[in-house]
Subunit: 210 residues, 4 copies
DNA sequence: CATGAATGAGACTTCATTCAT
DNA sequence: TATGAATGAAGTCTCATTCAT
């Protein structure tokens, strides 16, 4: 359609604005999911929160479900990024896993709204869970390699890590946070995965990168 | 509201039927929650499923939310009953806890619809979680007493048990079940709580009562 | 559902009212179709015209299209009735056909709103056309039997009768009515079908029953 | 509105392209009317079909209705042209009329999409009908002059010709086409207009020009 | 108490139209 | 002029809730 279009820079001018609006809608939805169950958020609210007209939403998403899906994808991508970044320079799988669990809980402490939204979206969106899974699996296997872990079933271990991570975030959101919450959860998770108590404690308490 | 009601003897005749209808509605709602998110279940569907007219629902519940709440309460009560029953004749806290976790997962295997509904309701209903908590807390403390457990924080331990139990049920519902799923989850939970690996394995594999 | 229901009288009490409301909606829609193209009539208008709330429409029709369809069916049934009634005591096919054509045009003259709606619905609704077709076909064949008609193709003859009937109604609705409009159209139709001019004129001018 | 426009020579450069775009929009709309009722065609669809952006439509038409109107006008003009062309070298009114009716039906056979669109636009657009009327009227009168026709009312005759022509097109579009459909319709129309059966048959079967 | 028709608020979605680029 | 994002009115449809029977 664009006679002079060029595959390298398809994100010029209008595209930037378009992308900004789209992101604004996703952010707005996420903010609302912090306060309300996903199914209770009306698209008009999203539009208002994003400061656009109701119809504008439909220039970016064909249907309500697509909005939710987009939020899920955005979260999943963000998760993947976060975990990747955290892992840079950490060679041990068990340590990466500990760091990962702790960081999510610490972020929940720092931004409970974000955490609340995450919990709700994760509950609905199977896709987001499997995106996280890939990262965690790698750490689990590395942990096995390095002799830090020992468990009967990889998939169950995976579920346990995710469940406990989300559970920790939920505790924070619901005001049941305790001191060193992240460390304590990580320690228990490591023990569940077969790390010895002493090592688990030490691992869980290690200073976080950054 | 009850013109002549009186707390003692009004449980005759009509009352039995009344109670049956009410329970029928709650059961119907629970069946529907197995298939759909709570917010997506219309009261008319509940009425149809319970084989009463739409208006009848309002003879038992003032509002839609009350129906959901009642389902939550019913589940919580059932949980408490189940756990109490299981505990009869089991003197060890760690063993009771292991049995509890396993029984919930086994029930999920036997009745995935029930499990699906439970997962959804538990997600929404804070009250149901604290009801379970009471039972679990007792077991945790007994486990500490008997030297089987060792953890940094009771509340976190509690969250972990519940998270992993629900996580196990979710795995089953989503078709990620593995062999001896209940045993493997219980084993990991016990290790997280500080039980030694050998003892955790043995405890988790013990024959279930009944 | 109705324990004491009885197949003979399923239209008791509530049913009567239900039927009345339903008919009221169909009538309301028909009145509106007289003024506006079918696609331009909003269901809320129908509800207002029928003096019920907007939601009530959906207690009777699942979707907008079902309303239109119901109007089409109602019209088709009415047509069939009208034609049947007219045919009572008229033994000649050609005469029945002439009467039929004339009656529709006369009704258009008497009630142009009705005619306007009919023209619009007929345009959209294939079903209504085939309902009429059955009646007309019988008359065409009888006309052939009695030697009054002579044409190359039955289906084309059918189309012609319907087209000219509707065309006559349209002329009336659009204010192009002339004296003895019904008679003149009928006469031409009869000639088209192969009736001799003299006989056509006589047939078309015969006194109408009733 | 046209700053420097002037009825004579502004048809240079950009104007050609302008005219082409405008025509492209009209053609696009017509193609869409083949598939959907006029009221169900969105302007955005028209723009897409014409391969222009949605806003561009408004450089050529002030409003949606103007687009529909333009389609109607374009069709009417095309009709007039077609009929004029057909009439060249045909001196008899009755023959011209027969040719006209047949050509429309044959075109419907050759291009049912076009026919479908025509039927829909004709239904809505009174203007288009009167444009055709002028041409037909001339033929009717000529037919009277030459003694081929004999009918009670000119306006009714006109309606009949148009109704049957459109009816024939509709039959084709709806898949009820028969062999020599055009000839058979023409023959019946001629008889309706008072042509003797023998002459009607001969006239209707005459070879078409071109 | 049971019924189910009626209600109307509110959600979703579409689309003609405007306007900055 | 062309573009396409933004707008918001309007329509479709759902459903919790009320109420007469």
């Amino acid at each position: 359609m664009n006679k002079t279009a060029n595959a390298d820079e398809p994100l010029t001018r209008g595209h930037k604005k378009r992308e900004r609006t789209r992101q604004g809608l996703i952010d707005a939805a996420l903010r609302l999911f912090a306060r309300k169950e996903v199914g209770d958020v009306a698209l008009l609210e999203v539009a208002n929160e994003a400061e656009v007209a109701s119809g504008t939403v439909y220039n970016y998403f064909r249907t309500r479900d697509e909005v939710v899906e987009a939020v899920g994808l955005a979260l999943a991508d963000e998760f993947a990024d976060t975990i990747s970044t955290l892992s840079i320079g950490v060679d041990s799988g068990s340590r990466r896993l500990s760091i990962g669990v702790r960081m999510f809980i610490r972020r929940a402490i720092a931004d409970p709204d974000w955490a609340s939204a995450v919990i709700r979206v994760v509950h609905l969106d199977q896709a987001i869970r499997s995106k996280i899974a890939n990262q965690v699996l790698a750490d689990l296997r590395a942990g096995i390699e390095e002799g830090a872990f020992s468990y009967a079933d990889e998939n169950i271990a995976l579920d346990l890590v995710v469940s406990c991570g989300v559970g920790g975030m939920r505790a924070v959101v619901e005001g049941r946070q305790v001191e060193d919450h992240d460390i304590k959860v990580a320690e228990m998770v490591l023990k569940a995965l077969g790390t010895t108590p002493a090592r688990a404690r030490k691992l869980a308490q290690q200073k976080l990168p950054g």
